[in-house]
Symmetry: C2
Subunit: 413 residues, 2 copies
């Protein structure tokens, strides 16, 4: 008999059907037993006089039974007169229960037993939201003529930014894990004008914080023939709106509105708003939180752009603004946390040579080729997927929205 | 003035417009000069009396001119009376020309100058086909209830298969680049029943062949509640059909039909067809080619499944067939090349313990958790994206369809 999903039961009232899933919970009352079966779509309630002992929590079962109306059952139907086959039997007690509204286990225990913890509906929902956000990212960009690319994750030199890199043995010589697809997405602007990539990036972060991972999913885009960074910010705004729409469509979760125009403050002004000294070269987490509160208070926006970051704190490929102390680089804060970094890049070969003055150009050869052979004005951004989702669902730690996080301490499971 | 694309020119006949792109070619005749500008969409022809010297090949230009009908021009229109602004000027001769139908440079030179070579329309087209195939993969799987996942690319032990692995320094202890998302996608069947991932996988292949890369893009899927591997093969068939459809929709390239039922031969029979000794444990490239010819001749199919690979040549998680010498593992050959490996996996904890007999279970702890806490019968596959695209477009070497390939020799650009 063809298996149906829990959500399809109501359409089969009075029929004999087969469902399959995990034993979510068994409750034995005096004269009746309730078996709740969890599948990918939801839950089914199965009624028996007595629950067999083998129906341990977590076991995988196939249930053939009659769909019977019951107002009090979830979805208005339950399964009666069941025949139950056990596909996989769990012989040990689960380290924590999945049937409570929230997992009782702390985050470390959840991460140690990720294979089990991710089955909890709240944890699974976060990953569904991440998948929907990713799908929305692609959809919004493809509507704007962006082409998807795949780029190398092992690179020859650790030249791209100041971030810490992982070193590996590449057939007997040193190689490094890519900190971002930055160089490659820029080169691909020379091919497709507009490109995007969804992929893992690697940071050998020496600090253990609630917002850093050693591997995270970067939603990268890069676009050519721009006037300046403001074209990039507008495209990013539309992309975020598309992502949020897709999240609602696919999961029912409703993110906050993305303003038609996201408020933007210059870095110098941002320091004033955050009450930071005027010579600070970067925003600290507390400053970001203060800016988030300011944007909500003054503009009713959960988002705020900070533009014009000082040149000295941005990577060498950053395009300066009219005032050369500041850049055409920006960050996007969402609910007081930086979730996107972006900006306009240099596009002329000579500007790159100047920006790299004093350094050997040899490690940059394949990259500089792109500019030597003609590149339009361009810019782009990188969204940190886990940070975005954590902020959306109110998770205090990015590890709560990552299936198998990697950090200073954790390399398994 | 808002820039338009080359493909939009015909709709603006008689108007003054602005286009932008790369100087593809300049031809100076006696009384007239032709400038061909390349953009992401195609080509525009610009007419001048004399081409300025600065219009070097590869330079990026913005051209404001009048759209004028000319039957002989590409698309029936050309641009006359141009004002030309140079956005980036190329000061060096290009190492090879982009305006010939095929690149004259050999593959090594193309790979050395990837930033330039990928701009050739034939190379760019292959990457567009790869992007369309990937989009079709996701679309077909989402229509079948699969959820996208992101999994770790750095793992604690090199236990997953016999493939060679890259070793790295993970905060002072050893880590390895994942050879596939195999363990993680299986675990995620416990969460979503059906999952897929598009991502890089890493193989420290010690041999330099036309079909191996040190990093390639793996299109992975895994599904639960199957009867056996045949359910997986059917889902894969539908997915491939969806991918091919999407390629045609997005790029106009027409792949061969995917048969409603892809012919399948058992491994033992495959050896006979290929004229190989009956005790061969695996198929060599020549055998695969012979099977491809056989499938085309006997079934009119460019695809053929080989099922029932010997257990001793498949990884420990492989589910045996009724005859325990053979497995429920399969390969899919396309035009005589293996492009997919898949199969049914073990799903009971005790079966894993038996399969790993004699080995320490400790490195598998997080993986085995999934089976200990209940897993349904399941299976899946991994498509090698570059191999599929190479076979589709008739490229002899997977490097021809990879933007920035990684291999034994090559770690840049």
């Amino acid at each position: 008999m063809q298996r149906i999903l829990s959500t399809e039961l109501a359409a089969h009232e009075g029929e004999k059907v087969t469902i399959a899933g995990w034993v979510h919970r068994v409750r034995q009352l005096k004269k009746v037993a309730f078996l709740i079966v969890r599948d990918a779509a939801g839950f089914s309630q199965v009624i028996m006089t007595e629950a067999p002992e083998q129906l341990t929590e977590g076991s995988v079962v196939e249930v053939t039974a009659t769909v019977t109306a019951n107002e009090q059952a979830p979805g208005g139907v339950e399964l009666t007169g069941p025949e139950i086959a056990i596909l996989s039997r769990v012989d040990v007690p689960l380290p924590f229960e999945l049937h409570r509204p929230a997992l009782s286990a702390g985050l470390p225990a959840q991460l140690d037993h990720a294979a089990l913890a991710l089955r909890h509906p709240a944890r699974a929902r976060n990953l569904r939201i991440a998948a929907a956000a990713t799908a929305g990212f692609r959809k919004a960009l493809e509507a704007q003529r962006f082409i998807e690319i795949q780029t190398p994750k092992i690179v020859e030199s650790a030249t791209e930014s100041g971030a810490n890199v992982f070193k590996l043995d590449y057939f007997g010589r040193p190689g490094y894990l890519a900190q971002s697809p930055q160089f490659y997405k820029q080169l691909m602007v020379g091919v497709f004008e507009r490109v995007f990539e969804v992929g893992p990036v690697f940071r050998a972060e020496p600090s253990d914080t609630a917002r850093h991972l050693a591997q995270y999913t970067s939603l990268d885009a890069e676009m050519g023939f721009i006037t300046d960074h403001r074209d990039v910010m507008a495209a990013l705004r539309d992309t975020l709106a598309g992502m949020f729409e897709e999240i609602t469509t696919r999961t029912g979760f409703v993110p906050p509105p993305v303003p038609a125009e996201i408020p933007a403050v210059h870095f110098a002004e941002a320091l004033r708003i955050a009450g930071a000294p005027a010579d600070e070269p970067d925003l600290a987490p507390a400053h970001e939180r203060a800016l988030g509160e300011w944007a909500l208070r003054e503009h009713g926006s959960e988002f705020v752009y900070v533009t014009g970051y000082p040149m000295r704190k941005r990577p060498f490929y950053t395009h300066p603004s009219a005032d050369p102390r500041y850049s055409n680089g920006f960050d996007l804060l969402f609910r007081g946390l930086e979730i996107v970094t972006g900006g306009q890049r240099l596009h002329r070969y000579d500007d790159y040579v100047k920006a790299l003055e004093g350094e050997s150009l040899e490690p940059y050869r394949g990259y500089l080729d792109g500019f030597r052979y003609g590149m339009p004005p361009h810019g782009g951004w990188a969204i940190g997927l886990e940070r975005l989702v954590a902020r959306l669902v109110g998770a205090a730690n990015v590890r709560e929205v990552t299936a198998f996080p990697r950090d200073l301490q954790r390399l398994a499971p």
